[in-house]
């Protein structure tokens, strides 16, 4: 954990992904507020975003940014707040990134496959 170059690039990656997330979260929240105006149903969600390449791309970027941003933060928390050795901390953060990427893209693909809007 003591390589200053690695730490610097992780810091930059976390800030850059935060900038992406700031926009993505606003779009996501605005989408929710817009979507619930007429009541929220699975059919409505499927009809709006299902089969949409644009929405799939948007949420794909969202998932990638979250998978970069969150594990770097978890890595910092684990290293500062637990006695875990650095190798365990790095492994746990990497595993968390894989889980976020895997579950996130699975969800994006599933929504896309719900059919053409």
């Amino acid at each position: 954990m003591n390589n200053p170059r690695v730490e610097t690039w992780l810091w930059l990656a976390q800030r850059a992904s935060a900038a992406v997330l700031a926009v993505a979260v606003v779009v996501h929240l605005a989408g929710i507020i817009f979507a619930v105006q007429g009541g929220l149903t699975a059919a409505e969600v499927a009809g709006r975003v299902g089969g949409s390449a644009a929405w799939a791309a948007f949420y794909g970027v969202f998932v990638a940014a979250a998978a970069v941003h969150a594990p770097i933060g978890v890595r910092t928390v684990l290293s500062e707040m637990t006695p875990m050795p650095a190798s365990w901390v790095n492994a746990a953060a990497a595993l968390f990134a894989v889980v976020l990427l895997g579950s996130g893209f699975t969800a994006v693909a599933a929504v896309y496959r719900l059919g053409p809007p």
Partner: protein, 242 residues
């Protein structure tokens, strides 16, 4: 003149090393009395074995910092009337540094970290060169000016929670010092210093809690200095200079 109870301060002072205890003293109140005056009274009149550190008494030397009623302060410029409205004072050694005895802490780690952060000036000129002409309004000079009045008292280091939970963190004072040199046009350490202050023992560990800024008796802002280091390190990394 007899001293009545209302004219005395109830003072608890840490005695011993890391595993010491608070000992109670009664000290007469005086006008314009500082916390250092109180400690000095105890040492001169009540218990000559009390150990503490001071030198200038006018807020320049940075040697008299202690924990006063739970907060790190420079004791020579802290008036009792401002911190002990109820007449009670609890005086302890600075946090985050090993206690030598009573109110004296071992400052070696604190100053070793200044050296590790590249706190030494790296000259680029020689005595044959003329004076560097740096306009007062120069942006980098303003950055350096903002942090250069540090007296090395250790108050920010004691106030910093990151120092408390991360023993190798360089701390606010050392990083503030590095930032003044990063902005010094005459200094030549460049990327070598940025490498020293980067990483999870350096500027990237700062959580921007701003306890250093809150407690600094000179009203400096080490948090801003550390943020400046983060930017400088990031720019150097993006340019491939790090």
């Amino acid at each position: 003149m007899a001293v009545t109870a209302s004219e005395t301060l109830s003072v608890s002072i840490w005695r011993g090393g890391e595993h010491g205890r608070f000992v109670a003293y009664e000290v007469p109140k005086r006008d314009s009395q500082t916390v250092l005056d109180v400690v000095t009274y105890v040492q001169r009149r009540l218990d000559a074995s009390l150990s503490y550190r001071f030198a200038c008494r006018v807020g320049m030397c940075g040697s008299c910092a202690m924990t006063v009623n739970g907060r790190p302060r420079w004791t020579c410029r802290t008036h009792v009337s401002r911190v002990a409205g109820d007449g009670r004072l609890e005086i302890a050694p600075l946090r985050n540094l090993p206690v030598v005895k009573d109110l004296s802490v071992d400052m070696r780690t604190f100053f070793d970290k200044w050296a590790r952060a590249g706190g030494a000036f790296t000259p680029t000129g020689s005595r044959a060169d003329g004076f560097a002409a740096i306009p007062p309004a120069d942006a980098k000079r303003r950055n350096a000016d903002a942090g250069v009045e540090c007296i090395g008292c250790g108050v920010c280091y004691a106030a910093c929670d990151v120092v408390a939970w991360k023993a190798d963190y360089l701390g606010p004072a050392a990083l503030n010092r590095a930032w003044t040199l990063v902005n010094d046009a005459r200094d030549g350490a460049g990327a070598a210093r940025l490498l020293k202050v980067a990483g999870d023992a350096g500027c990237h560990a700062c959580h921007s809690h701003q306890a250093c800024r809150e407690h600094c008796p000179k009203h400096l802002n080490p948090t801003a200095a550390i943020a400046g280091l983060k930017r400088a390190v990031a720019v150097a990394a993006l340019k491939g200079d790090l």
